[in-house]
């Protein structure tokens, strides 16, 4: 029973108002955490719904271990109540009229009363909410509700666990504790856990294994480091935090310097970027994190950085402890600096600044 693998190969299309959207994925996941990462609308929830049986794909096959849950070639579609798939939805869906203990025991219908109570007590202790048994969902905190919903799902001993952004609303500490408890639980159970998120921090915190989804397709897969630090596609780049993404044309190679020159479309701005294996005949994209750009009040001298541009500040906005500046130097860049830097450089809209971008802060992607 332990160490089963889930394999998914499904295709589902949606017509209608939102325009044609298709889900077309194929992957398998072993026991342990697999992160499904993507922007909202990438098809993450639809994918989980299909695995759980709440939605039916048009074609494909879904199986846990040796048993198929869905197989279009055999006309097989196991109803959700017989899939043994634990699914924690974003809304948690705790039953409001029941106490926490009643909620947790809901899925243990077939068992004897004593066995039901024993398993309920055990799981509530494992998730540190044993004191809440007689409370109702609306009388407990958000974090406690997450734990209760998780306990209710896990107590049925599912063969696969589907988590749809279950911890998004929680603070980092609570989140880390719940994840630790979940990991401890899964050391014994050894089931595949598919964890959906659109938050970069969660990917790094949880992931052994990441699958990046975009517009219903898998665009990258690997460790968080592989997927997010070396993005091959623009979607992943945006998700990974590249605020600046420019359409560029290849201009020249400088193999002796380890760089190449790309010109930002509709501008005279030439960027020196790392020498990359791309198709030089096709358009490329260059991504630059806003926090990787330096600002200077005068022309910088004696720098190793290859990209130095004079520009004008077109907008300034403070968000929390970060100042977001937009600088036009022929192309518009988003730059993040600290409030202290704004004071020191006396940044203001309309003011002149110099922008410095290291070659290795530029990520080259094929467009």
């Amino acid at each position: 029973m332990s160490g089963e693998e889930i394999s998914v190969r499904i295709r589902k299309s949606f017509g209608g108002e939102r325009g044609a959207f298709g889900l077309d994925v194929e992957f398998s996941a072993a026991a342990g955490f697999t992160i499904l990462f993507g922007a909202s609308g990438a098809g993450k929830t639809t994918l989980l719904d299909c695995i759980a049986g709440l939605q039916a794909p048009e074609t494909g096959r879904i199986a846990v271990g040796a048993s198929a849950l869905f197989d279009s070639s055999r006309g097989l579609d196991v109803p959700p109540n017989r899939r043994a798939a634990g699914y924690l939805m974003q809304s948690l869906a705790l039953f409001p009229q029941m106490t926490i203990a009643q909620n947790v025991q809901y899925g243990l219908d077939g068992l004897a009363r004593s066995e039901r109570q024993a398993r309920c007590t055990q799981i509530l202790q494992a998730f540190r909410i044993a004191s809440l048994t007689e409370r109702r969902p609306r009388d407990i905190s958000g974090g406690e509700r997450q734990r209760a919903a998780l306990a209710r799902t896990l107590v049925t001993r599912p063969r696969v666990l589907l988590l749809d952004e279950p911890l998004t609303a929680l603070d980092a500490v609570t989140k880390a504790q719940i994840v630790d408890d979940l990991r401890a639980w899964n050391r014994e159970q050894q089931i595949p856990i598919l964890y959906v998120t659109h938050q970069r921090e969660e990917v790094f915190a949880l992931g052994e294994n990441v699958i990046a989804l975009d517009a219903g397709r898998i665009v990258a897969r690997g460790s968080p480091h592989e997927v997010l630090q070396r993005p091959q596609s623009e979607t992943v780049a945006q998700l990974a935090g590249f605020e600046n993404i420019f359409d560029c044309a290849f201009v020249a190679d400088h193999p002796e310097q380890g760089t190449m020159t790309c010109r930002v479309a509709r501008s005279a701005v030439n960027l020196e970027v790392p020498l990359s294996r791309i198709d030089r005949a096709r358009p490329v994209r260059v991504g630059i994190r806003a926090g990787d750009i330096l600002l200077a009040s005068g022309e910088p001298q004696g720098l190793s950085a290859r990209n130095v541009f004079a520009g004008t500040i077109t907008a300034l906005e403070q968000r929390d402890v970060m100042v977001i500046a937009r600088v036009n130097c022929g192309a518009e860049f988003e730059v993040h600096v600290t409030p202290a830097a704004r004071e020191a450089l006396e940044l203001q809209v309309g003011g002149k600044v110099w922008m410095v971008v290291k070659t290795y802060s530029c990520r080259v992607m094929q467009a």
Partner: protein, 225 residues
């Protein structure tokens, strides 16, 4: 006389609202969750008694249960007497007449239940029947209660349908509202006033009790034990 009419009316209202509870809950459940394309047709039929004059409804029911219709003939063959102008005939007419008052609040409260709760129930291994008993019914209970009380109160006060189907037979089909009509016809305004006041007080007490109960949070009062 007034006591006879009152017990008759209460008996009719109770039987009708219990029948509507049994018929209304599955019908409301179906209306709330079905995705059939012709659902609108059933919805329109259920609501018809709200807009139709009672005389029209009463007339058609009278024709339908009369000795010339197959239903009426079948009933007469089985029971031995016609359905029209009997208490049973009144029950048939009243069930149809009060149907929307039972079904609509039930349907509304079933439809208002978060679908995710039904999904969650199913994902935890529950059959549709179990989901209905443990989630839909307890959470929809305020609507079921409202439907029950409204159909009861509505049957208490009906007049047109009763007159068309049942006529005015003391002890069999003479309900309170018919009695009031009789008393006014006989120019006995004092008696009519007493009877009318009784009906008014009864209906008011029922509705006041219903809304007082509904004020409390649904799952605290009606929580599943």
């Amino acid at each position: 006389m007034i006591l006879q009419a009152l017990t008759l009316t209460l008996r009719l209202a109770l039987i009708v609202s219990v029948i509507l509870l049994i018929v209304g809950i599955p019908l409301a459940y179906w209306l709330a969750y079905s995705r059939k394309r012709w659902k609108f047709f059933v919805e329109a039929v259920v609501c018809l008694p709200i807009v139709l004059p009672p005389t029209v409804l009463g007339f058609y029911v009278l024709v339908a249960i009369g000795p010339l219709s197959p239903v009426g003939r079948w009933y007469q063959a089985v029971v031995g007497h016609p359905l029209a102008f009997t208490f049973a005939g009144l029950v048939v007419g009243s069930v149809l007449y009060s149907l929307p008052f039972a079904v609509q609040p039930m349907e509304t409260s079933f439809a208002a239940i978060d679908r995710k709760l039904l999904d969650a129930s199913s994902l935890l291994g529950a059959s549709r029947w179990r989901t209905f008993c443990r989630i839909v019914l307890p959470l929809g209970l305020p609507g079921v209660l409202t439907g029950f009380v409204l159909s009861f109160a509505h049957t208490l006060g009906e007049f047109g349908v009763v007159l068309m189907i049942g006529g005015n037979i003391p002890g069999t089909t003479r309900t309170i509202s018919i009695l009031i009509f009789d008393q006014v016809e006989a120019l006995d305004y004092a008696a009519a006033n007493r009877t009318a006041l009784l009906l008014l007080a009864l209906c008011f007490a029922l509705l006041a009790a219903l809304y007082a109960l509904r004020r409390r949070a649904a799952w605290n009062v009606w929580g599943w034990k």
